[in-house]
Structure formats: C-alpha cells, structure tokens
Amino acid sequence: MDGLEEIIGEFLVESHENLDQLDRDLIALERDPSSTALLASVFRTIHTIKGTSGFLAFSVLESVTHVGESLLARLRDGEIALTPGLTSLLLEVVDAVRSLLTSIEHSGNEGSETYDDLVARLSAVLDGQQPAEPAAAAPVADAVEGIVQATVEAVEVTDAPVTPVTPVNPEPVVPVAPVLEVVPQLEPAAAEAVVQAPVEEDHGEGRRSVADSTIRVDVALLDSLMNMVGELVLTRNQMQQRVATREDVELARTTHRLNLVAGELQEGVMKMRLQQIDTLWSKLPRVVRDLSMQLGKTVDLVLHGRETELDKTILEAVRDPLTHLVRNSIDHGIESPADREAAGKPATGTLSMRAFHEGGQVNIEIVDDGAGIDPVKLRDKAVAKGLMDRETASRLNDKESVNLIFTPGFSTAEGVTNVSGRGVGMDVVRTNIERIGGAIDLTSEPGRGTTVRIRIPLTLAIIPALVVAAASNRFAIPQANLLELVRLDATQAATAIETVHGSPVYRLRGRLLPLVDLREQLDLPDVERETTYIVVLKADNQQYGLVVDDILDTEEIVVKPLGHHLRNLPGASAAPERSGQRARQAVDTETVYAGATIMGDGAVALILDATALARRAGMSPESELGAGTVTGAETGEAAASILLVELGDGRRAAIEVSAVDRLEEIERGRVERAGHHEVVQYRDQILPLVRLDHVLHGDGGHPGLSTLQVVVCRQGEQRAGVVVAAILDIVETTLDTRTPLDSTGGAGSAVVSGHVTELVDISQVFAGLPSADRLARTA
C-alpha cells in the first residue's frame, strides 16, 4: 500500500465514524436547536472532512462539505435558525458525503455524481432563502422521509414537487433566478440516486468496507491480551516439558496442536501491537522544516522504510531519542548553506532515515551529510571536561572517540542554542535505547557526515533467551546480547584461559576477551569446573565472556518485572565484605537482573542484564580490553592491565593492554619489506612490524623461529605489530616498584610477578613508523 492510499484509508475509516456521529448529532440538534455544543461538534466534523478532502483533491466532496460548513457556520453564529428544512438539507449533505466516500472506497474516485443541485440549494439558503421541504422530500425520499412526515409544512406543499424552493418566510429580497436554476437539475439527480442504491449493495456483499474491517481497540486491552498470551506460552512450555517424558501419543499430538495454535496466537497478538514507524516519522518533516528555518539551513528529509513495523511500546520508547537525534543532526551536523558551498557540497543538506528489519531486530539509521564529528575535538573536550586524562584519551581510536558523545555530561556545541547542546541528550538517548534492549552506534567522517545506527528489538514482552546455570540456579540471558558460545574442556581451559590476579582473559580467535565469572559476580560459592562454558556477550559496545556452569537451553521467555524489593539491589560495596582482599570498583545500586520469568517447569528464573553485569565486573565501556577487577586499589594508584612479553635475550617487557588490539602468530614467510620496514599483510592492510628488541636496544634476533609472536598495537587509527619472543601473561598491577631505568625505548622498569620488567612506551614504538597511508604508497 503506498502512502496516499494509506492516508485515504485512514480518512475513510475516520470519516465513516464521524458520519455516524454526525447523524446522531443532527437528529439531536433538531430536538434541541439551541445546543451550541452539538452545533460545534457537527461543524467540526464537517470541517475536518472538508479539510482532508481538499488536501486529497476530492473536489466534489470538498464543494459539498464546503457549503455545508458555511451553512453550519451561520447556524453556529446564530445568523440563521435551524429549521427542520435545514436539518434535512444537512442530512442530505451527510448522505452525499457518505455516498461519495463509498465511491472513493470502491473505485478510488468520487464517481460521476457532482451534487450540483445540493450545492446550489445550500448556496441558496446561504443567500438568505429558506430551504424547500418538498424538494428535499421528493428525490431523496428514503433518507428524509421521517423528517418530511414530521414536518407539517412539508406535507402541505408536496403538491408542487417541481418547486424546489418555497420561501416559507418570504423576505423582500429573495432572488428568483437561483431558485429557477435549480429546477432542471433536480430530476437527474433523483434518477441517479435511485440507480445508485443497488450498486452500493453489490459492493457491500463483495467486500467489507474499510470502516467495517477495522476497529479501534484500547491499548490497555491489548496489553492484558498480551499478558494472557504470555501465560499461555508459559503453560505451553510447561506442557511440552511434561509431554516429553511420557509416551502418550494422543497427548503429544494434542500438545503439538496447542503448540501451533499458541504460537500463531502469540504472533497474531504481537502483530496487533505493531505499528508502522511512519506514525513517528510523519511528525519529522515538520520538525525538520521548523528547525532548519530557525537555524537558516536548508535540509532535505528523506525517509526510507516507512512501513517498517514495531511494537507500540517500543515505538513510544524511541520517539524522543529519534527526535533528539534528528534535531542534533540539523543543529550540529548539517552546516549552513554558505559553509556547505564553501566545502564544495550542495547548499541543501540531506538528512535521510532508514528503517528495516534484520535478524529479528529493527534497525534505524539516521544519516546526515553534514560536517561530521571531529574525533580530535571530542578527545580534547573529554580531557577538558575532566572525563578522562589525556593519556587515556590519546589511546582511543576515532570510532571510540566519536562515541564519547554518549558520555554523560558531554556536549560539543560551542554555543548553546535553544535547539540542542545543553549537555544532556546523547547520554539520555543511549540510556533510553538501552533500556528497551537496544543498542546505538555512531560513525562519523569529518567533512562527510554522521551516521547513527539504532538497533532495537521488535517486541519486549516475549523474547528468545538462553538459559544458563550457575550453582544450581538458572538464569536467562536475552538472545539480543548473545554473540556465541564457547565450550572448553579442562585441558583446553588450562591453556586457553590466562588467569592472573583475578583477571581472566580468553583468546578468542586471537582477540582478548575479558572473562566474567557469573558465580563470582553473584557471590555464589566457587567451584572447580570440569568444563568451562563461556557465553560471549555484547553490551555497551564491548564484548565479554560470561563463565557459567552449564548452558541449558534456549526458550521463549515472558519478561516480568521484579517486585520493588528487588529493584535496587545493594551493589558489591554494600554487600558484606568477602575476604577483604578484593576491592571491587564501586558499583552503583543498579540491579544485575533485567526481570524474571517462569520456566517451562514452572520455576522462576532471573533474567540477567548483560550491561549491568559488565559494569558490576568493573569493565569500563571505553576500553574493549578493560577487563577484570581492580586489585590493590588501596595504594592509591590506579591498577593497569599489562601484557607481559619476553624479549629474545630473556628480558621481560610490559605493554599496556589498553594499547593492544590483538595477539597474532604470523609465519615468518609472510613478512615482506616496504622501504626500510618489515611489514606484513594483515586484514587488507599493511601492518608495519617493530622488533621490540630493537626498540629496547636488545641484541637478540629470533633465530630459527618459523612463526613470529606479534602483539598488534594501536594508537589512534594507526596499528603496528610488535614482534616479541614470547607472550607470557596478562597481569593487573599498580606498578608501584618503579625505576626510571630503561634502555631508552621504554617508560621505566617495575617489578612485575617477581621479575624486573621494562615498560614499553607505546608512543615510542609508533614514533619511528611511517603512517599507514605512506606505507601503502611505498608498497
């Protein structure tokens, strides 16, 4: 269905409803002609239909309602009094409108009837004449019969059917001409009215009219229906589990049927709650227009995927974030026409929005072709605002930098406008999106524009979840957070998981994945595990592995809120101190549970909030590798995660994990040369290799090794492979025993794990390297 048809459809439904009301109002009005409220209501209804029909270019409908409206305006203003004759005329208008609507509904146009006579008669009344009762009675006998009979005057003049207008209350200035004009047009109109009647009936049998095929339903009713369907799904799950243990074929068959019906019912009810995103978007053109006018910019709004449907609750939840993002794009993103032309772009900016379904989620993209976001500026801002120190900021790559915009208290607007830029907003946007289980991501190319991607679930009420176990408790994890599952047996776990100082890390395809033990986070007793199950989760733009005892099943769960006793669970700080040696990063009192659900066997299971769990484990959203817990916080110096490596001559060195992208093993044969540098082709890029021995002025090469141990480091957008003899471990340490001793390539030495270890200043490593671009050209 295209946009216009849809608008017409809505117009028809609405108008049909209004017409019924109009009928009742007019009849009531006749009994109580002095009621201004009724008159106002009638006037409004006709006015609405007139307005919309004008907009939709239904000219006949418009002209009929227009004169009807004018007449009603006179009535409303008390200029003329309502007589039964007038009421009939008005009812005739209603009938005309109704038949026009029917015609529009079936054929898409107004049909051949032009209702000129009706318009003329109405105009005549407007010109000061009283309507003729018989004229109304004769041609449209059915519609106005009752009124005619009730009107004594009308009965008296029925002898003269060809005189349509009889001035019952003759005034001196009755123009005669218009009255006569009306006469010849009257008969064909009557004839057509008769012919039309059976045709309408045919239509009625053939297909349901729009007004009959839709009903408006209270959202509360839908919600309660949804709840009941939720219960049904739960009961079905319970039943299925029971049936699986029995050998009753008949019962199994019945259950299967129940399963199908419940599934379809669930889908149907869910569909009932779906609304097109256009119900939100339809307000945007106005927002964009007003805002761009105000700011002296010209912006084209392009909308794709208007028909994308999502749950009403979710639609409501994204309303404000979306509007905010649009305002932001126009205010901060798109430049003034002069600036745009100076930058060689068309003066008119484009803001395009795209909505589509993908993988059971709804994606919404907001793309502008404005100035984009300067990552350097954001980093500076973050430092200036005291959100992070310069060192941390300098390690952020550009993508991480632009996503700083979501940090609470962050605003880049140099001047505060009344549109946006008051420092609240983007963090609230993210909070709102995440509250409904969505994720938001921002990419920007300075000078080219900004793209914001939002992914939100289709519905909130029933979600697919993974059921895991920890210490005989079952927990549900929403599938939306789930990336993959890893199973390690005891021997694999021993080598694949590096655990030092409570900061376990798993190398998932060479990438360091911080591990979070569910038992530990929930203060459940520790246990020796035969098999380690890692649930790889994504939350807050970061990934981590949740270590659980067992992975049980996937199940459709109905999310139920927790009672107010459990809304604000005490965080670790408030919990009794366990053993005292572990000081957790301060956790706010946010609960790690997103709700609870009832499992197939009727037991209650808690739903884990992956984001809250990551926060509780002390992972900072800024650093992908910011793993684990903080130890030795009492020394006052912040602990750092460092990667311990060995050099060719047996010396040890340490690289900060936050600068480490991945750990790779690269075959010696893949190493090529570009200029004076050793390079390797790595992920469609040329990765320069740096021998850490050379940086630290060591003597050792790496004799005879067929593979090189490479630590891929990152500084901003630049990457380099640091070649070491061996990768030893990842440790958390405060580096309190420090000396300035080093071999000019490092940042001093410290005692780490009982060995003197040189600290590598990663910027030193990058200092001697050509940029990736230059390297590409050299090659």
Partner: protein, 143 residues
C-alpha cells in the same frame, strides 16, 4: 471483633488480620536471588505471577531457621495493590480475640520485633504479636 490468621516464628506466635491475607502456600519451590538483601527468601510462581518472598525471621531479626525445617508462605496483600509472600515456620489457627485483650507491646519484646509489631494480644496461655504487615513488606525497613 476481627479475625486474625496466626503463625509461629521461633516459638513466637504472630497474627495478621485475615483480611490482609490472600492465601497460604505450603511447599513452594523458591528461586533464590543472589545479591539480594538477606530478608529476601526468593521468588515464587503464584499461578503465573512472580511474587517476592520475604524471610520473616530475618526481617524480625530472629535466628535463622534450621536447615531443612519446614516453612510456609503466607501471601499478603501490599498497600500498592500487589502481593508479597512472608515465609513463616508454621501456620496456626484463625483466632478471634476480644478487643480488650490487646495492649501495646511490653518492653520484654525485643526491639527488632517491636518495630513491626503494633499490638500484643493476651491469649489464655500465651501472647499473640500483631504484625504490621504494611511495614513488614516495605523494603528497606530493617537497614
């Protein structure tokens, strides 16, 4: 004259108005909530509704129940229209003591109990402590 639903906790007899009790459940599987306050016994499935269960012994500052000792869930209505379950040792009779047998709690009643007990009812052979359910189910009252 009003009726009171009675139950025992660590040898004390408690009573709550019958009108505030929705139902009494025996042998309910509770789902523990890690990290939750110690007053919270867990969650139970009451015909599809998830109900928070409070350990009344802990709420009143009494000794914890012996491992494996039986317990009963008394589901009471909360002021906000919901329900909360109170875990007690044993359910007793419904009593209908005369109005003049009530008194304010004497000093002999431990303070932790007195906070949640509005009145004491003198029965023939022992005392019934009238529990203020509204306060008992209000979170954070003990901290």
């Amino acid at each position: 004259m009003s009726q009171y639903c009675t139950f025992t906790l660590d040898r004390h007899l408690f009573g709550v108005p019958v009108s505030s009790v929705q139902e009494v459940l025996r042998a309910q599987g509770l789902t523990r909530v890690p990290l939750a306050h110690e007053d919270i016994a867990g969650l139970l499935n009451l015909r599809g509704q998830i109900v928070t269960s409070l350990e009344l012994r802990s709420r009143l500052g009494l000794e914890p129940r012996d491992e494996g000792a039986p317990s009963v869930n008394v589901v009471v209505k909360t002021p906000d229209g919901g329900v909360v379950s109170l875990v007690v040792d044993e359910i007793g009779d419904v009593l209908e003591p005369s109005r003049d047998s009530f008194e304010t709690p004497p000093d002999t009643v431990p303070t932790t109990i007195r906070d949640l007990v509005t009145q004491v009812c003198k029965l023939d052979d022992h005392l019934m402590l009238l529990l203020d359910t509204e306060r008992a189910v209000t979170p954070g009252g003990t901290s």
